[in-house]
Assembly symmetry: C2
Homo-oligomer: 378 residues x 2
């Protein structure tokens, strides 16, 4: 099997598995227990908090571990919204967020929250103008994803965050797809609240984290919670967290090499695709718009993405026709439609995403299958 | 280190770790993805659902996997409460539930829910009389733990559930401490909704499940959720779930032997304790009240539980002075106070909990330490 759906999930790295195994044998106590078995777990947890904070250039006191990216988004947004002063309870987000945020917005709106949803421009970006036209005097929080999980389009938070900072508006960013792949630096990007996930960076599934810049007010979603300083209730998964942080640190240590590797794979995919006459077109002009190197979001011009995905699957190659978290839904992806695509065009979307061990030979196999599929559709 | 705090957490069994390792290598796709890597994960997930349903004699369609016991309680109660008809929105629970439920009740009350909290009798049990005096015509859901995590006292759900069934009232039970230790049989106990956790039965931390009897109405806490039939959002942790179900099945397969083993350890603890003159007194008369065999909840008559726990810790033995999920709180445990103990008496509570590999020699070491501590306090 050739797996080219790393944006959906990745296997644990050997190092992460090794740490998971060791922590499970040696540090299995409940981190809340007051005896040494608990103290040892709490000690490892503290170390992990410091490590993760280091990776995002934040402060360890702001790290809260969770059960994954979705829970991180749900808890982060609700906890910070609940901490906003009464005069600043307007919340702004985008139409291209991960389904966990889209669904949450739907629920918050039904609870009476005042929420504005920004549409990106035709190249998928939230520009300063778009942001400025949505923030108001009573805006307290803005949530903009760092990069889109389907198109790979990166938002320029460096440019957007000063606009918010000047107005004392908090910025949350969902960095599930960018963390470990490109720098996610608290001060440089200027976020106040951050979501990251473990299984996208070769850590275990079921682990994630939120960063809330110390000083930012928030209120626990479930009052009375004692774990994670009240942020998330439930026994803390120390072996999983140790494995996550190990995997994340390894990604950070090879970010430049991996980025070059991904660019090479990507360039090969599109250059060879063009040479072979495969009707593969990147969703945005990558010379103008920054995209994540490991996510190749494109249109296959003569067929539905679902069909291409199944044809590839029949040939032992796993790619995707959109976010796994919305798989099975028949509607075209909002993130692709936001680029100005019609429903029909949006349904021709496919996502090819690379992993650290993906090879040029695997891309050649994919090209081969796409080529044959294209010919059969002529 | 002698670990006698298995009610707080347990290490993963070798079998569970092996399965985790294999699934991570072979089934790392996102279970929501539509290609074969996703299909394989979905297939394992389906197998796990069937396995877990078999262990509780329920139906696989009613199994929803979560990130642990706490999340299971939170999602189960809210989802089922939200599904109750308008005329039956009175909720009844007990004063001795796990902190996740106590905290949730506090939150639901602040949201305007009508909730009654039952006090057990002086032996810690919810009797039919107590239950009958709390249910009303508009009661829709009752939540009663299967056994208490601190005292080990088992509620006689067999006796209580017919009272509710007759009145069309749903029963939720938190079986985190009982699952895998004593039979948790859907029809025999008569519950409609169930909470179980993985790390108490030698599965990984960060995994749990809810059972909702098919036919029971519920509404997703986060509308729009696609995973776990809308019950819980977020990538499903298939390797963790596979490891959990493996561990749980192993426990079920040796339940009788382990129960005998725990009874032997327990009997040794109390008999030898008495012979040595250690002032150790079980919190309830075990000839009259059913308790979980692996949890020995007792008073150490001449000192605070916290002190005894620390003395044991100093001697390399991990026991607990109460639930880890409430550790660090200075207040006496509601579960111990419910037995009629004064604050001072309740603070003398200690919990010793056995694991499958706990030996008589380890109990002797504990007795030795308790004996020396008792003498020093004379």
């Amino acid at each position: 099997m050739i797996y080219l759906d790393y944006a959906a999930s990745a296997p644990m790295s050997d190092e992460a598995m090794q740490v998971f195994h060791e922590l499970n044998q040696e540090v299995y106590g409940n981190a809340s227990s007051l005896h040494d078995a608990g103290g040892k777990a709490e000690h490892i947890l503290k170390y992990c908090r410091r490590q993760l904070a280091g990776l995002i250039h934040g402060h360890e006191d702001g790290i809260y571990f969770t059960s994954g990216g979705t829970e991180s988004n749900i808890l982060a947004l609700q906890s910070v919204l609940n901490g906003l002063p009464a005069a600043r309870r307007h919340f702004v987000t985008t139409s291209v967020e991960h389904s966990s945020i889209r669904n949450l917005v739907f629920m918050l709106q039904s609870q009476g929250w005042d929420i504005s949803v920004m549409q990106p421009d035709s190249s998928g970006r939230i520009t300063p103008e778009i942001l400025l036209s949505h923030v108001r005097e009573d805006t307290g929080l803005v949530s903009i994803q760092h990069a889109n999980s389907e198109t790979g389009i990166i938002q320029d938070l460096r440019e957007l965050s000063p606009i918010l900072k000047k107005r004392n508006i908090l910025l949350h960013t969902d960095a599930v797809q960018t963390f470990g792949k490109i720098p996610v630096h608290a001060d440089e990007l200027g976020f106040d609240v951050l979501t990251v996930s473990s299984h996208k960076v070769y850590g275990p599934k079921g682990v994630g984290a939120v960063y809330i810049r110390p000083g930012v007010e928030w209120k626990p979603l479930y009052p009375g919670t004692t774990h994670e300083k009240g942020f998330r209730p439930g026994t803390v998964n120390v072996p999983g967290i140790g494995a996550f942080v190990t995997a994340a640190a390894a990604m950070a240590g090879q970010m430049k090499e991996l980025s070059l590797h991904f660019h090479e794979l990507r360039s090969h995919l599109f250059t060879e695709g063009q040479r072979l006459g495969i009707p593969l077109q990147p969703v945005v002009d990558e010379t103008r718009v920054q995209v994540l190197p490991h996510i190749a979001g494109c249109y296959f011009l003569r067929a539905e993405g679902q069909y291409i995905m199944l044809e590839c699957n029949r040939n032992g190659i796993c790619i995707s026709a959109g976010s796994a978290c919305a798989a099975g839904q028949q509607e075209p992806s909002p993130s692709v439609k936001a680029l100005g695509a019609s429903d029909q065009e949006a349904l021709r979307f496919i996502r090819i995403s690379f992993g650290q061990h993906t090879t040029l030979q695997e891309i050649d196999s994919l090209l081969n299958t796409l080529h044959e599929t294209a010919i059969s559709k002529l």
